[in-house]
Amino acid sequence: MIRATINNVEIEVPEGTTILWAAKKAGFTIPTLCNHPDLPPGGQCGICVVEIEGLPGLKRACMTPIGEGFKIKTHTPRIQATRRQLVELILSDHDTSCLTCVKNNNCELQQLAATVGINTVDYKNESRKKHPIDHSSVAIVRDPNKCILCGRCLTVCSQVQTVNALAVNHRGSETLISTAFDAGLGNSVCINCGQCVVHCPVGALYERSATEEVWEALHDPDKFVVVQEAPAVRVMLGEEFGMPVGTLVSGKMHAALRRMGFDAVLDTNFAADLTIMEEGTELISRLTSGKNLPLITSCSPGWIKFMETFFHDMIPHMSTAKSPQQMFGALAKTYYAKEKGIDPAKIVSVSIMPCTAKKFECLRPEMNASGYRDVDYVLTSREIGRMMREAGIDMNEMPDEHADPILGEYTGAATIFGATGGVMEAAVRSAYALVTGKELEDVEITPVRGLKGIKEAEIDIEGTKVKVAVAHSCGHARALLEKVQDQMRKDGKSEYQFIEVMACPGGCVGGGGQSWGSNMAKRARRGESLYAEDRSLPMRRSHENPEVQAAYEKFLEKPNSEKAHKLLHTHYFKRSAVDGKILPG
């Protein structure tokens, strides 16, 4: 233990603790800007400087470990002046059109300016270059004029996700965080995961919004607007209305959407149960034939593009099952339209996702199995939060309501899709029944839960051992797949038979479309909330879902049938590691 004083308050902290955390313990919050609790400190901004008695200059609290006997001061006149000056310098090179900024009221720079007491900006930077806004991506917009070069997006893109779409380019006052040759995110290896978006402290990165288009559809009496909501949305949306992190609002969410004017409030969770039927059946057929093992899950569109770009040899291992969003889309304009007697051409299919990559997924040319665009618009959880506030809806005041039939019923297995390990757990619950004809007694498969980067478990299906692995974040997925590649090169097969991958840390609860200021602690709480909903539901196995059973009886025949294949399965492409475009051949 190290003993030191901070502003004359004596503290004792473990060796290696940074001054920033030690100060918190002493009751002082040192202001920061580039620092993020989930990322290694970079020390770019210098806002967190402190004085240490006897040492020259000011030290950055975020990256200076506290030393024995340090006498630290955190807000002397010199420090206060330095911080103000630094913030003023940043503001002088920043597009300060806050009122029209997507981050207004959620901006860390805005809050910092208030915290350190900025009331004038003495530096006029007339030479500030105006950069064009990057609109090349269908999912993410990048505005370099708002960028403060803190480097969080880079760290998460290169170190956590190992995608490397963004890099620091040029130098000095010309420094720009951008794609190579400024080609734009849409012409890069960007997988649209949006982790840069949820890590950006300012308004330099945000989703490409579809709110205008959805309002238009809602106000059009000729359109029948159906909406689906991903599992992870129901444990985040409350946060947009000031509820504690991870509050479960499934019922309130359905009620709020109904009040916004959606003609049918359905649920992606229905399609998650359906996914399990298709993917579980696929797993069993692969285990039986022994071909293309391990089977790898395909629900995460960020992960799909990552795999298509960096792991061409894994394409045969991918499950051909579409993601729940796209399964839902294909059924909304076929089965649902037929059963309800609605012209599918009049249906506008909207999905609410914790995800920016879903915007890319719904636009993939092959996603038109219904004969129409299967999903027309994807809104992130943030966007629907904004729309609800615009409509004067307060989530706190909503009653609990159910989703509408015939694509609205769901089981506990579906709701845990939103947390890392959830798809694996749901698949095992049903695969066990499909293989043995008996139900798994204890449906909770705890080794695949939690936030460890790569989780492993061995499942015993009546004597047949199935080794499974779960990875979340593309960095961990890369490590796991490199291990699989190694094993296959050496032994011709991998030790794993089934692998779940989610592109975002924590799974969908930590998606790039979730509320601003995401961190691992919040992701964990949202995940726990999904497991709590699972426990509370009367049905916890996908194959028990009566609406899924009805869909097979009336329309799809059976899992992996020809019709199911046409509507619910897809294929993948090899993509270039330079521009992310589909490679010929």
């Binding site: 890099a167 040759f181 330079v578």
Partner: protein, 152 residues
């Protein structure tokens, strides 16, 4: 020399990145690193494409835009400045009809500025490709450039 042959001269080791890029640039007839140069370098060193671009964009000795056959680098450090580099730069801009970073219409010269060349004793100084010239005047610059035009 084709790109393949250039790469093979070096071990596929990240510490060779600058040497490889210099060689690629020198062998590009337009004296710059094209998208394809960045691409082959990234693939050969097994590093992200965006990373190689980032390194190339940091160093002023690399260009990511096509340039002329000859690169003029006029020193703009304080000793050269005191000895009239600014008026020489204005002269070059007018006579070549280009801005700093620009290439003449005939593609013969690209005008650039540089930080100290270490030739302060003969300020103002400039480099033409790999060759150094000092004690420059407008007339001297003219004759150097005329000479080069004749050589090609």
């Amino acid at each position: 020399m084709d790109r393949e042959a250039i790469l093979k001269k070096f071990e596929p080791n990240l510490s060779n990145i600058l040497y490889i890029m210099h060689d690629l640039q020198d062998n590009n007839p337009q004296r710059y690193l094209a998208k394809e140069d960045i691409e082959v370098c990234a693939e050969y060193l097994n590093v992200p494409y965006s990373y190689v671009h980032s390194v190339a964009s940091f160093y002023t000795m690399f260009s990511l835009k096509p340039r002329g056959k000859n690169i003029i680098r006029l020193c703009e450090s304080p000793p050269c400045h005191l000895m009239g580099a600014r008026s020489l730069l204005d002269y070059l801009k007018t006579s070549l009809k280009v801005d700093v970073g620009g290439t003449t219409k005939d593609g013969v010269f690209t005008l650039e500025t540089t930080s100290c060349l270490g030739a302060c004793g003969v300020a103002p100084a400039m480099m033409l490709n790999d060759e150094m010239f000092g004690n420059l005047t407008a007339e001297k610059v003219d004759s150097i450039l005329d000479q080069r035009r004749k050589e090609i």
